[in-house]
């Protein structure tokens, strides 16, 4: 029996607790109020958006985010069962890995090596049927040529690896075979990750050796369409990996990496870093850059099922809308079987192929096609960009908060409008879509927009006369 049970009658304890709470609660509320005020001011800036409708900047690209990656959740053509849903995403590129450990492409080794692309062809054909081009991550080591039979090990003979790459590229890009143009071949997938071999830049498991022999294989390809060959597809943008590849002397047509970053603004920083590193190699600065997987976390998360993921994706696209990577690949197209917290945009067919919120964000942002307009006053949480096309002015705003609870009422001002009557459309992704008529006599239109947690909205101004 403890002291409470021994000495304190329950009624007295409850009474004292109640009285204490009654006295201190107002004080606590006041303190919390002040703390929140201070914390809010200390960590961020609210947005105060001004769109200069006559300050026209560069054209906006809306293709770079229509790229998607499918992980190896199942050792089969995973996209086929959700082809209709994938077509709806209007994909430009779809990336797959596990070419050599899931699709039984390679048998034997050395002079006895043989190739059977039939199973991989089925997966590639599905990608083509979706309207996309394939990005093939040349991975992992065929067991028949790998040291110890492990698919994350170097081969027993590097020339066998070169042959595997040669035959793969010849098969898909060769004019006498699948005859595909513009295919990206990426050497390995996340080579720095322990699960995929923990490759280094030196030693027995040297990625540069893996890459060099792959490049040797690519060089031997005959009578083929133009294809892109690159890497290193690391788990993040790492200077030592990028610089090592850039200075390796091997063929590098593109640079790739993965980004699982909670802060969307880091994507712009990464891009800036990459270009800064590459300035001593001017020819490399002009090559495509591919973020072949991206998301807010590399771990599975139920947030991938929510509007959090949609807002995050919009916020990342905002950061890369000007001067960003050539293509960014949302990871991933479809959940694995039985997953309730998977990365997929679409649920597994066994779970009803449910479309998650993130699925809808790409088409929503496509509305922003046109020429970019000058926007000032973005904040810490609410960011955005504006465009004009066919005299219709649009402003996209996204409220993304990593902690998931920020709300904001955003003052918005459009300046330098042609005076007249306008239809103002206010369209929230997953929310209301309203239209009002406004007379704007002095060329300035102002309004406030309440943005609840993790929301994306487009404000559209169309002159009616």
């Amino acid at each position: 029996m403890n002291i409470l049970e021994r000495n304190a009658p329950q009624k007295i304890t409850s009474l004292i607790s109640f009285l204490a709470a009654l006295v201190f609660l107002p004080l606590l509320l006041f303190a919390a109020y002040q703390s929140v005020t201070l914390i809010t001011r200390a960590v961020g800036t609210p947005a105060n958006i001004v769109v200069d409708t006559k300050a026209v900047l560069e054209p906006i690209k809306t293709d770079f985010y229509h790229a998607f990656a499918q992980g190896g959740e199942e050792s089969e053509d995973m996209i086929a069962p959700v082809l209709t849903e994938v077509k709806g995403l209007r994909p430009k590129f779809i990336r797959i890995d596990h070419l050599y450990d899931y699709y039984s492409v390679v048998q034997g080794s050395g002079g006895g090596m043989s190739f059977d692309f039939s199973r991989l062809d089925a997966a590639v054909n599905t990608i083509l049927a979706s309207g996309a081009k394939p990005v093939l991550a040349l991975s992992y080591m065929p067991a028949s040529i790998a040291q110890g039979g492990s698919v994350i090990n170097p081969p027993n003979d590097w020339n066998d690896w070169a042959t595997v790459v040669e035959k793969t590229i010849q098969h898909y890009s060769g004019k006498g075979e699948k005859n595909l143009g513009g295919v990206y071949y990426e050497v390995w997938n996340e080579p720095d990750l322990a699960s995929f071999g923990s490759w280094k830049l030196s030693g027995d498991k040297n990625y540069l050796t893996l890459y060099k022999y792959a490049a040797d294989g690519a060089k031997r390809v005959q009578n083929a369409n133009w294809f892109y060959f690159g890497g290193p597809a690391t788990t993040g943008l790492y200077k030592n990996w990028i610089m090592a590849l850039a200075s390796s002397g091997s063929r590098v047509d593109f640079f790739s990496w993965h980004s699982y970053l909670p802060d969307p603004k880091r994507y712009a920083t990464d891009q800036e870093n990459f270009i800064t590193w590459m300035l001593p190699y001017p020819w490399h600065t002009l090559k495509p850059t591919l973020i072949t997987e991206f998301g807010f976390t590399g771990d599975k998360s139920t947030l991938y099922n929510s509007t959090y993921a949609a807002a995050y994706t919009a916020a990342v696209i905002r950061q890369l809308i000007s001067g960003g990577a050539s293509y960014i690949f949302s990871f991933e197209l479809k959940d694995g079987p039985g997953q309730t917290n998977g990365w997929g945009l679409v649920g597994h067919q066994n779970a009803g192929k449910k479309l998650k919120p993130r699925y809808h964000v790409y088409a929503f942002i496509d509305q922003m096609a046109g020429s970019r307009l000058q926007v000032t006053g973005e904040g810490t949480w609410v960011t955005g960009f504006a465009s004009v096309k066919d005299k219709i002015i649009r402003l996209l705003l996204v409220n993304f908060d990593r902690s998931g609870s920020h709300v904001e009422t955003v003052p918005i001002k459009f300046t330098n409008l042609d005076p007249g009557n306008y239809t103002v459309r206010q369209h929230f992704l997953f929310g209301t879509d309203t239209k009002t008529q406004q007379t704007i006599p002095d060329g300035v239109f102002e309004q406030k927009l309440y943005m609840s947690t993790q929301t994306v909205a487009i404000l559209e101004l169309t002159k009616t006369e």
């Binding site: 609660l25 002040q34 001011r41 200390a42 300050a55 800036e272 001017p282």
Partner: protein, 356 residues
């Protein structure tokens, strides 16, 4: 004898042909790899602007014999005179490698050629800067290129082929002060597809002359007020030619660059944008003459004592709760606080009860 002469002639020809080919190849290589000859300049679309209006500045390139892949344009200006609105690419540089960013007194963008087979060559416009005039000036106010401006050549003798930059200047007239507070941006001309104006190459200044000149006996003076270090922001001040543009770099972990203009009396002053932590710092001031285009440099060191400086101080005011915020923190604090108070009160009450 005849055969001997023929043999000698044959041997000479045999040896000389590869030698001639080799040297010819070398000369061709030298011609292919041109010396750095690229210049950048910046030109406003008007010579004077009223306060509150936006000026469009063209950033122009003349590559000379060079083939340029990409250009990092880094601009500095007096943040008390101008507020940057945007910076984007232009016709001669169709790609943006790093998005345009504008800050207090700075604007940067990295632009590029379409690909290696179509490098930037010749003269023309590679970027456009829009800045709003904030306060009137007695002399032309300058926008200049920062030292980290870079032009990356393809297949040239050196990677950075930039040899000189030419700042631009404009006079800010009184104008409508109300335009500042209302943020109502006035109508600005939009760039059109008209032919590009040539770059005024003969007047460009070598980079070294702009940023590395030794201090000379001149109007430029530099003082640092060590008594004004509250919050880690010492007052850096001095004199210069009236209207001169002063670039002040405070070297710390992350160097801070500030641009100010000397007033009509030649006085100037500023403080670091971010508070400095305790330690010793070096400040380098470069003054650009408003008309002659010459520059001079002074430097000095100063120390900030312990206990002062560090992170920026955000002062709380008596304003109402901002329109933005998060309810999560409040809830967590409420739950935690309530639990602690109740637990504490019970504990106190029980203890008191036990002893009584």
């Amino acid at each position: 004898m005849k055969n001997f002469l023929l043999l000698i002639t044959g041997i000479i020809i045999f040896i000389s042909v590869p030698i001639v080919v080799f040297f010819f190849g070398q000369q061709q290589e030298l011609r292919k790899k041109a010396a750095p000859a690229t210049t950048l300049s910046i030109q406003p679309n008007v010579t004077s602007v009223p306060v509150g209006e936006t000026v469009i500045w063209k950033i122009l390139i003349n590559t000379g014999e060079n083939k340029v892949a990409s250009v990092k344009v880094s601009l500095l200006f007096d943040q008390t005179k101008f507020e940057a609105q945007s910076i984007t690419n232009s016709t001669l540089a169709p790609r943006i490698l790093n998005q345009g960013t504008v800050g207090l007194g700075t604007a940067t963008i990295t632009v590029a050629a379409q690909n290696t087979t179509k490098p930037i060559t010749g003269q023309g416009e590679i970027a456009v800067l829009r800045i709003k005039a904030l306060s009137p000036s007695s002399a032309p106010v300058t926008v200049q290129f920062a030292p980290d401006t870079f032009a990356a050549g393809i297949g040239e003798q050196t990677v950075n082929v930039l040899t000189g930059t030419e700042p631009g200047s404009i006079t800010i007239t009184g104008g409508d002060q109300s335009a500042l507070s209302s943020s109502s941006v006035t109508t600005t001309p939009v760039p059109t597809g008209t032919p590009l104006s040539p770059t005024p190459t003969p007047t460009t200044k070598p980079l070294e002359s702009m940023y590395s000149q030794p201090a000379t006996a001149s109007a430029l003076t530099l003082s640092i007020d060590t008594e004004a270090t509250r919050g880690g922001k010492p007052l850096i001040h001095g004199t210069a030619t009236p209207g001169a543009t002063l670039t002040i770099v405070v070297y710390s972990v992350t160097p801070q660059t500030i641009v100010v203009t000397a007033n009509s009396s030649g006085n100037w002053q500023t403080t670091p944008m971010t508070a400095l932590a305790s330690g010793t710092y070096t400040v380098v001031v470069t003054a650009l003459h408003p008309t002659a285009g010459t520059s001079e440099t002074l430097s000095s060191s100063f120390t900030i004592g312990g206990g002062i400086g560090g992170a920026e101080v955000t002062e709380a005011t008596g304003e109402a709760l901002p329109e933005s915020g998060s309810a999560k923190t409040t809830l967590i604090l409420l739950i935690l606080g309530s639990t602690l108070i109740v637990a504490g009160t019970i504990s106190f009450a029980l203890k008191h009860y036990e002893y009584s």
